[in-house]
Symmetry: C2
Subunit: 340 residues, 2 copies
């Protein structure tokens, strides 16, 4: 930078200011500086700036498992919104393991990121939350919302689950099962609540035996579905509370030789990029992940610029992606009716 200054016949401070646009510079000198810069191939040294200015212009993103395509859209939303604000993004994978999570986040902190978007792992409160608390770093939670006064953005789990189950009940199903997610996850609890809410709305009481544990994994979904099928009064329709479990449930159905939706209607939370090509074509709740990502960054920026701003919890509305695993035609016309 001093070389540029010399070449342009100005001081380093002027160069710094044209680089950052932080104070008025005569158009003419600015031009000289810029010319000198690309003459010498000047490059901004991010670390030096960060050291000096105390700001890295980088935000972190901690995800539970990059291996779930579920995040792709979210990452895209965050990426676009961050780069729009001139922020770099540093993505880390927590492996959904609290210890690893704390480790990689400590790492992010050592990099002096200016904010953090985090999809908390189960058990994050033991290590990560304290870490975050003892550091003055703004952060916002996504996906698995917490019962805490922190900024967070997720989806309307309860209402959209209820709407999906409503649909099954309206089709005439009277024994609707649910493969629920890992206990303790807010998303699991909320979706479970939606399942129950739909029943109440129809003046029904859900049979507790039809509500099984699926651990949020595809393996859990498989076992959960098998359990439901083994009941002597098995459900005629099933709601799976996340994408992995839906996969597992489908595998179980296939192994049992049951057809969807002829033998059993199946719907799930979370949409897939290729949902149209599964057989059956799955009716799902599709989250607005891009929007969630974008809003998360916006919340983060607001928190960064105004640490005293009121805490916000955003719940985006999801929509039902209507296909035919629920027993409707692709157009949404009921094709089969299941009456007891």
């Amino acid at each position: 930078m001093s070389a540029v200054a010399k070449a342009a016949g100005v001081s380093v401070s002027t160069v710094s200011h044209v680089v950052n646009g932080t104070r008025l510079v005569t158009p003419e000198t600015r031009k000289r500086v810029i010319h000198a810069m690309d003459l010498l191939g000047f490059e901004h040294h991010a670390a030096a700036r960060s050291l000096s200015a105390g700001s890295t212009r980088t935000i972190g993103l901690a995800l539970t498992a990059a291996s779930n395509p579920y995040w792709s859209e979210l990452v895209a939303g965050i990426d676009v919104e961050a780069s729009r604000s001139g922020l770099d993004l540093m993505i880390v994978d927590t492996r959904d393991d609290p210890r690893h999570e704390a480790r990689v986040i400590a790492n992010l902190l050592a990099h002096h990121i200016e904010g953090l978007v985090i999809a908390p792992a189960l058990g994050w409160r033991d290590l990560t939350l304290p870490l975050l608390r003892e550091h003055p770093i703004p952060y916002v939670l996504v996906d698995r919302l917490q019962d805490l006064r922190v900024d967070q953005v997720g989806v309307e789990n309860e209402n959209s689950s209820a709407a999906l189950v409503d649909h099954l009940l309206q089709l005439g199903h009277r024994r609707v099962g649910m493969v629920a997610g890992m206990k303790g996850l807010s998303t699991s609890e909320e979706r479970r609540a939606g399942f129950l809410l739909a029943h109440r709305r129809h003046g029904l009481e859900a049979d507790p035996r039809l509500l099984v544990e699926g651990l949020s994994t595809s393996q859990g979904g498989r076992l959960g579905m098998l359990r439901l099928l083994s009941l002597n009064d098995a459900p005629t329709a099933v709601f799976c509370a996340n994408n992995n479990m839906t996969i597992g449930a489908l595998a179980a159905l296939r192994a049992s030789g049951l057809r969807v939706p002829q033998d059993l209607a199946l719907v799930g939370f979370d949409d897939y990029p290729w949902a149209d090509l599964f057989e059956p074509r799955l009716t799902t709740v599709a989250q607005p992940l891009t929007a969630i990502g974008a809003r998360a960054v916006q919340l983060l920026l607001r928190r960064i610029s105004d640490p005293a701003a009121p805490v916000e919890t955003l719940r985006m509305t999801a929509h039902i992606q209507h296909r035919n695993s629920c027993g409707c035609s692709p157009e949404g016309e009921p094709v089969l009716s299941h009456e007891q």
Copy 2:
């Protein structure tokens, strides 16, 4: 750090050396320093170290589109291998756009990353390659290998494509079509070569009309398949050269009311996390992506430590994930035979 030094009654330089283990320190003083460190909650300022030492302990990863689940496994492989070596990973999305690619990579360079793993976008040679050339930064290419003397790791495209097409020919198919990838991509060319190779091995000549362009996209795959179906002597089996095109081809088949494998056998390059749940269950070439990621990092580390090391191009062998879209039973037993 100076605070730690004072607390421990030593100089900052000693503190620095115990932090980095860069010179001998009496066990006793070391203990005092360490004690002082966690007493004061000392934290290494990465930017300062980087400024002073000129090393950031961070590598970059530039991918064409985080939105393709295809990369998940690769990222996992890279992440694990990098963290094993104490390196941080900074992931950016090039959007498969040469201009955006150059932009985000310049960004990475401004961060003074120590190395870069890149899945080059089509057209990367115009902007990115020059950028990389004028910077003394080690990098390794993954996936789309180039005809350049640079470190790179990918998969055996030609042989594995040939093996897959071999399989179709062995089943008795005599008119095998191919939906090929975007021209100019090395992966496309190699897979195309594999298709031709298989025919030669069987003493056959591939009908050029059966080799259509699919642009590497699902839309292209759809159109390519439609073109094949419109031929008056349409193929009885088709090989799609990547996951997106297979998806598109499947959509075209569904729209045309054709069943796989009964009416047409279909196989594709690239496996899917959920391939078992597509209908039909797709027979594919599955790349060892985790291993590719790990090897890429190893290559990068070697290049970093020894800039003069011989350039390497690694081709990992893929395996055929045998399901039933090829017209075999799940166990691999031919169930149908297509003879002209």
